[in-house]
């Protein structure tokens, strides 16, 4: 009886490998073929199309697209919004993850839900909420106009929307990592006389650095590519409130395909770079984890 139970329990682990190989050849080939076709159709083809279209009229036309003043302004604005949103979310994310993973307090689950909110809400709705609050007809719009402050259809609105949409990335990456590490090391540092800041800098931070970097890379990629929320608050003023994705849209709508795809290729390159960095970080993190376990 006991033997029968054991063998039944053990079966999936023992036979899982060999079973795959026993599937008929045609089935395996079909499934792999389908997966590859899907990959080609939905990932590789669009990527190739971006670069083909961008280079259709040669390198001269390709680089001319970046020489345009409006394009340069869009690139500058995207980098500015990212340069503010990512560090802000780095700080918020670390603080939130630290609080959630290392302490017990009432309202913890509410905070967790709030962190996930930007993922749950459609970016267009998030943008709209900022318009409803800061817009000319919004709650504090009139007060802003009185004091000659512009949020909506201006850079502050774009920074706000970008920050909101990319908020969860860092925190979400760190919470499970910090929870799995527990706080014994922090308590040990405490008994050795370290201050709160010393504990964070010399114990907590080194333990989470790869997870943190990973979160920052994802956050950065999303901040640069964000379209929906930024589109609502931007107002699409050329050379002023257009980010790279918005600029691509405008060029495309104007049938300026070469320029549109050239600027889009910049985002595609950023995405590829992100993937490479992400793989390196994942690899390093795995190595560190296996070393310290």
């Amino acid at each position: 009886m006991a033997a029968a139970t054991t063998s039944r329990l053990a079966r999936p682990a023992v036979l899982a490998g060999p079973r795959l190989h026993r599937d008929p050849v045609w089935l395996r080939r079909t499934l792999i073929g389908l997966a590859l076709a899907f990959l080609a159709l939905f990932l590789l083809l669009p990527l190739a199309a971006v670069f083909t279209e961008a280079l259709r009229r040669g390198l001269g036309a390709y680089f001319a697209a970046f020489g345009d003043a409006d394009a340069l302004a869009a690139i500058r604005l995207t980098f500015l919004a990212t340069a503010i949103a990512v560090p802000a979310n780095l700080v918020f994310g670390v603080a939130a993850a630290w609080a959630i993973a290392k302490f017990e307090f009432p309202g913890k689950s509410v905070l967790l839900t709030l962190i996930d909110l930007p993922f749950a809400v459609s970016p267009v709705i998030s943008g709209l909420i900022y318009v409803l609050i800061f817009g000319a007809q919004g709650w504090i719009g009139p007060w802003l106009i009185e004091h000659d402050l512009k949020v909506i259809f201006a850079t502050p609105g774009i920074v706000l929307a970008t920050t909101f949409v990319t908020f969860p990335f860092v925190a979400r990456e760190l919470i499970p990592l910090m929870q799995s590490q527990g706080n014994d090391e922090e308590l040990a540092a405490l008994t050795l006389g370290a201050s709160g800041w010393q504990i964070f800098r010399r114990v907590t931070l080194p333990n989470i650095k790869w997870g943190l970097l990973y979160g920052v890379i994802l956050c950065n990629a999303r901040a640069m590519g964000e379209f929906g929320a930024v589109s609502v608050v931007s107002g699409h003023i050329r050379g002023e409130t257009n980010t790279i994705p918005l600029h691509v849209e405008i060029l495309y709508n104007e049938y300026n395909f070469v320029a549109a795809f050239a600027v889009a290729s910049l985002l595609a390159l950023l995405a590829l770079l992100t993937l490479v960095l992400k793989s390196i970080v994942e690899w390093r993190a795995r190595r560190t984890a296996s070393e310290s376990s």
Binding site: L187, A188, L190, T191, L192, G193, A194, R202, V203
Partner: protein
């Protein structure tokens, strides 16, 4: 430095972890907090360290007469060794041990050379010189434990607190390490408190044993005194094997003044029982040998009382005595209790 706690209470919601606990640990002694899991011993240790706070308004913690209840952990000057070591996984052995010194403010921080000197001294003390550059992941469990100990000693603590120091180690390393800890204690003479659920460990190395059960202290004393004079049935049963003998029984010398009323119980350790054969003419509790287990220094016998066959009595005798009596399973014997214990409050139902 002596450690003194008085009237501590600690509750976690509905659960009481410590219920009016008072304890005085004398200076320079090695004290064991011994008890089953959930008895409150780790909570008591963490409160002494300052890692937990007692319930507001309950009792005080004094180090050498000075109230430290409100002193934060870092200022209490305790060395704490965690059950799973809690070494800084990204730091080398050297940096782990040096940590407590390098986090000091500039004014009191020793120079680099002094730190190096002290770390090397400590690593020699814990027999780990040559391991400075290893990461914790490159050490065995016993080595990690010793690094944790060196790290705690580096800040020159007044009190050393160890939470289940050998709990995560395998039996062999455990035995070596606890002898080594005893030796280390002889060298540094630090007031040391360690938590354990292993009575053998506590009795072997502690100067003083504090037996805890269900959020309270049952008994405090030297290993011999708690073993020989247990204050309660719990202590009796927790510190080694014990037989519960329903009275009346013929196994006692007439000089023993026991309350022989039916329903009362006498506690007898297996090694406090003599075995005689019936034809020796000596009186004793009539029993039958059921099982003999003689692999080891002493022979363990399981006997069943003739008057109450369901009541089994464990007896330990020398293997020489076993051979003399030529006992086999089924032999009729007489059991004579050399020492037994009865608790006044222990009314059986």
């Amino acid at each position: 430095m002596s450690v003194e706690v008085s009237h501590l209470r600690k509750t976690f919601g509905q659960y009481t972890a410590l219920d009016d606990v008072s304890l005085a640990v004398p200076r320079g002694r090695l004290t064991a907090l011994l008890g089953p899991s959930g008895s409150g011993k780790t909570t008591l240790l963490r409160i002494i360290a300052g890692l937990e706070m007692p319930d507001p308004g309950s009792g005080a913690i004094r180090f050498h007469g000075q109230d430290v209840s409100q002193t934060p952990v870092g200022a209490r000057r305790v060395g704490f060794v965690f059950q799973h070591y809690a070494l800084f996984r990204h730091l080398s052995v050297f940096d782990n041990v040096a940590f407590g010194l390098t986090v000091r403010p500039k004014a009191t921080r020793p120079s680099k050379a002094e730190i190096r000197e002290r770390v090397h001294h400590l690593l020699r003390l814990v027999q780990l010189d040559g391991y400075e550059r290893r990461l914790p992941s490159q050490l065995s469990g016993g080595q990690r434990q010793r690094v944790a100990l060196a790290r705690a000693l580096a800040v020159e603590p007044e009190v050393l607190l160890l939470d289940e120091p050998f709990g995560a180690l395998d039996a062999r390393v455990r035995k070596d390490l606890r002898r080594w800890l005893r030796q280390l204690h002889e060298e540094v003479h630090l007031t040391t408190i360690f938590v354990t659920h292993d009575q053998e460990e506590a009795l072997e190395i502690a100067d003083e044993v504090v037996v805890m059960n269900q959020a309270r202290i049952e008994q405090t004393g030297t290993p011999e005194s708690v073993y020989d004079h247990p204050a309660s049935p719990f202590v009796y049963e927790f510190l080694g094997n014990v037989n519960r003998l329903s009275l009346p029984s013929a196994g006692f010398a007439s000089a023993d003044a026991f309350d022989e009323r039916s329903g009362r119980i006498a506690y007898v350790r297996p090694h406090d029982i003599d075995i005689e054969l019936p034809h020796s003419g000596l009186t004793g509790e009539a029993a039958l040998v059921r099982h003999i287990h003689a692999a080891g220094a002493v022979a363990h016998l399981t006997c069943a009382r003739e008057s109450r066959p369901s009541e089994l009595i464990e007896v330990e005798i020398s293997r020489q005595r076993l051979a003399e009596l030529a006992l086999t399973p089924g032999t009729a014997v007489r059991l004579r209790m050399r020492r037994a214990h009865q608790f006044a409050e222990d009314f059986a139902i």
